[in-house]
Symmetry: C2
Subunit: 362 residues, 2 copies
């Protein structure tokens, strides 16, 4: 396998590499230094496991003392405690000790659940992320955020627990349903919008290649997204401040996901629409001009993501947004864009948010 | 309130004080600097809450923006995910944000469950330990180990999450059932056995005062235990090595608890008996002489703790001990005493453990 790239996430003793490229899934170089002589449990789902679990298992068998595969159900509805319990049960049934390793093979749900199980099992064991969706490769597998959902809010229960490595095989994106590929582009666009105007322009120029799954274009999108995210995470691992900018579009997005029921809109679809609303809020507050908000809206729309929010009562939007983890002392806080091409979190009055949602729903 | 003492747990940015004394529960000085302007949720149980929740709430109301109390059921059977969920539900129902604070008012179960909920809620919020049992005051409330149980093993799911402070009111020990006071003494004895021969001798000399709940004696036992534990934890927060010595007696003890069903024997009772077995193992391996093992046995017995293990088949003991978190690659590891009055973890052959248990059961 040639042409793979590495992105370093600098977190002192918890630093790790993201390896991105075609065919890295079972490449010996990608796995080098991991899991020697320990028990490994590959956690995947019923969709991804038949495609890739055997290759990952074979790669692990050359180095681990034992390898097993656990298949969770596919979809956001499985991002719950029951899935964590299933992982813990599988580990205990095999007598897995503190030196054991989990491998998350799948999308964001598998990665978040497996990472949380790794954070909790015997108070913390190692894990490796092997993301197989664009969304997971550019976002959820990087940065150590792990979580499960609660009926009242997404990712309400979780831990910061960094993986030992992220192995992102862009070749696996060939089997991804188009809807999921598009959803992943939302986070790619987000990284351009909050941190890198040149990258945003590159996405605009290469959107057709990305949608057509050009391998080189996808690899660049993954690597540049990971570089941007890695830099933010290195500065603020536990989201005490700056890391919140990665939540651009997510306060509205989480409200959409929770309001419609998790999984009705894909996370990326909700974030796409959320970015449109957050860009409009940024313009309404005079932080960016209307052209820039329109540019975000156009790119989201051209990617095939929804720009019109779902029809929920404004009171319901506000109620759902209050559950956002960024809210403080009752005031709503949004990540907003500014003219310099970056982003920051600001408290925004409820009335203003009501007006904005009202206008978007008209 | 006078005569309280402070023990510092040195953990860099996560350092905190243990405040121990009579009446510190609702003492303004004990709570100084905590929870100003945030929402607080006091988690207790149906036994402790009627006794002390009002006083703690009143103390918190002078500083927090809102205070609520949640009562869990009493006992080890409540050290499960359902209790964590109940805490999360209560927090979300009140719109508690990341600045919120949990207060664990009760024994080890309340402290471990509440600490784990604090570790997981929105990926980590603050919490304060207000231990009301001797066991929690001398051990479980200090050091940041939080966990829930699994049918296959105690504390299998958890996190390292340090409290902001530990407020140990020895006055609350007056309402403790005698059986629980005695169980707490097991951990006090443990601290003497693994780290401080003078303290061990002090316990022997003051056992009657401790069993009679002399306030000064109890305070000294709590403070000295916390000092010993704090020093160990400061050197090895995440139990990479030396912290394991705090598990003296616990490998056998956990097997007893799991084998009989959690809660049949109190944790301290199981640890008391486990220390006797571990001391005998230390003598059998020639690390200490028989007199020292007898001394531990005698002190455990005089405290009113069981020295004879429950009647479980030897195969069952081994199976249960294999689930211990210290085990590595299939070999059993025990914390053993040495002649210098300290302790360390060693791999011990299964045959030797079988012989030892067999002899103890005869």
């Amino acid at each position: 396998m040639s042409g793979s790239q590495r992105v370093r996430v600098e977190l002192a003793s918890r630093s790790y590499d993201i390896v991105a490229g075609n065919g890295v899934l079972d490449d010996a170089a990608a796995w080098e230094g991991l899991g020697r002589g320990v028990q490994a449990l590959v956690v995947s789902n019923t969709t991804v496991a038949p495609l890739y679990a055997q290759r990952v298992s074979d790669a692990l068998k050359t180095r681990c003392s034992g390898v097993a595969v656990l298949e969770l159900g596919d979809g956001e509805s499985h991002k719950v405690w029951g899935s964590v319990e299933a992982i813990v049960d599988a580990l205990l049934a095999r007598g897995a000790d503190r030196a054991s390793m989990l491998v998350a093979l799948g999308g964001g749900v598998v990665g978040d659940v497996t990472g949380f199980a790794a954070a909790c099992y015997m108070r913390g064991i190692d894990y490796v992320q092997v993301p197989t969706t664009l969304l997971a490769q550019v976002d959820s597998s990087v940065g150590g955020k792990t979580a499960i959902n609660h009926p009242l809010g997404k990712n309400m229960i979780g831990a910061f627990h960094q993986p030992l490595r992220v192995i992102a095989d862009v070749d696996t994106l060939r089997t991804l349903p188009q809807r999921e590929l598009v959803a992943g582009l939302a986070e790619v666009i987000k990284h351009g919008a909050i941190a890198d105007d040149d990258f945003l322009a590159w996405i605009e120029a290469n959107l057709a290649l990305l949608l057509g799954r050009d391998a080189a274009a996808l690899q660049h999108a993954v690597v540049r997204s990971c570089e941007i995210k890695a830099a933010v995470v290195a500065d603020d691992e536990r989201e005490a401040g700056q890391r919140e900018v990665l939540n651009f579009g997510h306060t509205f997005g989480h409200a959409i996901e929770a309001g419609l029921g998790f999984g009705v809109w894909l996370h990326g679809e909700a974030v796409g629409c959320g970015m449109v609303l957050a860009a409009r809020a940024s313009a309404a507050l005079g932080l960016i001009d209307g052209d820039r908000a329109d540019r975000v809206t156009r790119l989201v729309a051209n990617a095939g993501l929804p720009v019109r929010p779902p029809d929920m009562a404004v009171d319901r939007w506000i109620e759902l947004m209050r559950h956002d983890k960024k809210s403080r002392g009752g005031s709503l806080r949004l990540v907003l864009l500014d003219a310099a091409g970056s982003a920051r979190t600001r408290a925004v009055g409820e009335d203003r948010i009501r007006d904005l949602i009202g206008a978007a729903l008209r």
